[in-house]
Amino acid sequence: MAVVGPELLARLLDEHGSALVLYARSWCDTPEDAVQDALLQLVRQPDVPEKLAPWLYRVVRNAAISQSRSARRRRRHETAAAGQAAEWFVPRAADRIDAREAARALESLTSEQREIIVARLWGGLSFQEIAEVMGTSSSSAHRRYEAALAALRERLGSRCQTNDLKE
């Protein structure tokens, strides 16, 4: 009998589903499949992982990387990602930054930088948890996060400053 029941599965999907899909977009063009595989893998576990969110991010990461290993699939992802970047976020009037601009800026980052930004900002993982997922140290994850933020600020540039001035 599996430990993870339907209630927990539904709650995880509600709380982490969108962030996990955004996280998996860094590698593959079918992020929903990677997230679904990770949730099913969680169901097969005899015990619930102690740190559930980092475990899910690590499994989604592995599944997404596995999906993107095919060169043909990667090429298709690269062509498709350009058209889908605008769909990474839901545009809202209350946004302090343009969703499409932010998506394009995120897309221009390296996959490592994008992974840290997504895991930190939308996944809510601590630097220690990010380090465990990526297999690096906490301080290294923090440095890469700051470097990624700086790169985003450089790419967004005036747009971000304009919004800041508006506030």
Binding site: S18, L40, F89, D95, H142, L149, A150, N163
Partner: protein, 187 residues
């Protein structure tokens, strides 16, 4: 989702602005996910409590046993196999007795095993007396048992049946024609 942490102040505004964006909701089919989860939960076999270390422990134990047996095989001292071969001594005994002039009754003092030597010598003596005589102690019922004892004690090489000598000296068997003449069927 509040990022928190130790982000420099010049990046905190950008960090907060990015965090305010809402990722597009996942388009995962919830019903299909629940269905697949149900199938996966049925096929899930709970791991045994000792499953994590049972196989490694068994593997380690078997490896240790195999290594010790290999060392024992390699390092054991060479084994010398000593095999006692009993060679028939009939001829030597007979020559020795002839040289010393002792007779067969003295052999009885040597224990039970020389019984076979005595029997062998008995056959030799019978052959020397013309082959038709059988020693007095060799009753017809015991001849086979004595012969068996002799062969078991000293080997098949010592079997020299005295009956061959007796048969060689006996008249040849009657032919079919002679038998017919004898019974009057043929004149």
């Amino acid at each position: 989702m509040s990022p928190g942490g130790h982000t420099p102040s010049d990046l905190q505004a950008l960090e907060a602005a990015l965090a305010s964006l809402a990722p597009r909701p996942a388009t995962i089919d919830r019903d299909r996910l629940m269905y697949e989860a149900g199938r996966a939960s049925v096929s899930t076999v709970p791991a045994a409590p000792h499953g994590r270390w049972a196989w490694p422990a068994a593997f380690s134990a078997m490896s240790a046993i195999a290594a010790s047996l290999f060392l024992a095989l390699v390092l054991r001292p060479p084994v010398v196999v000593e095999r006692v071969v009993q060679a028939p001594m009939v001829e030597k005994e007979r020559e020795g007795e002839e040289a010393t002039g002792r007779r067969g009754d003295e052999v009885h003092d040597r224990g039970e095993l020389p019984r076979a030597f005595e029997l062998a010598r008995g056959g030799e003596e019978a052959r020397g007396r013309g082959g038709n005589e059988i020693p007095h102690e060799e009753a017809p019922g015991r001849s086979y048992l004595d012969l068996r004892d002799r062969v078991l004690a000293m080997g098949i090489e010592t079997w020299q049946p005295s009956t061959n000598v007796a048969v060689a000296d006996s008249p040849p068997p009657a032919t079919y024609r002679e038998l017919l003449i004898e019974f009057g069927e043929l004149r």
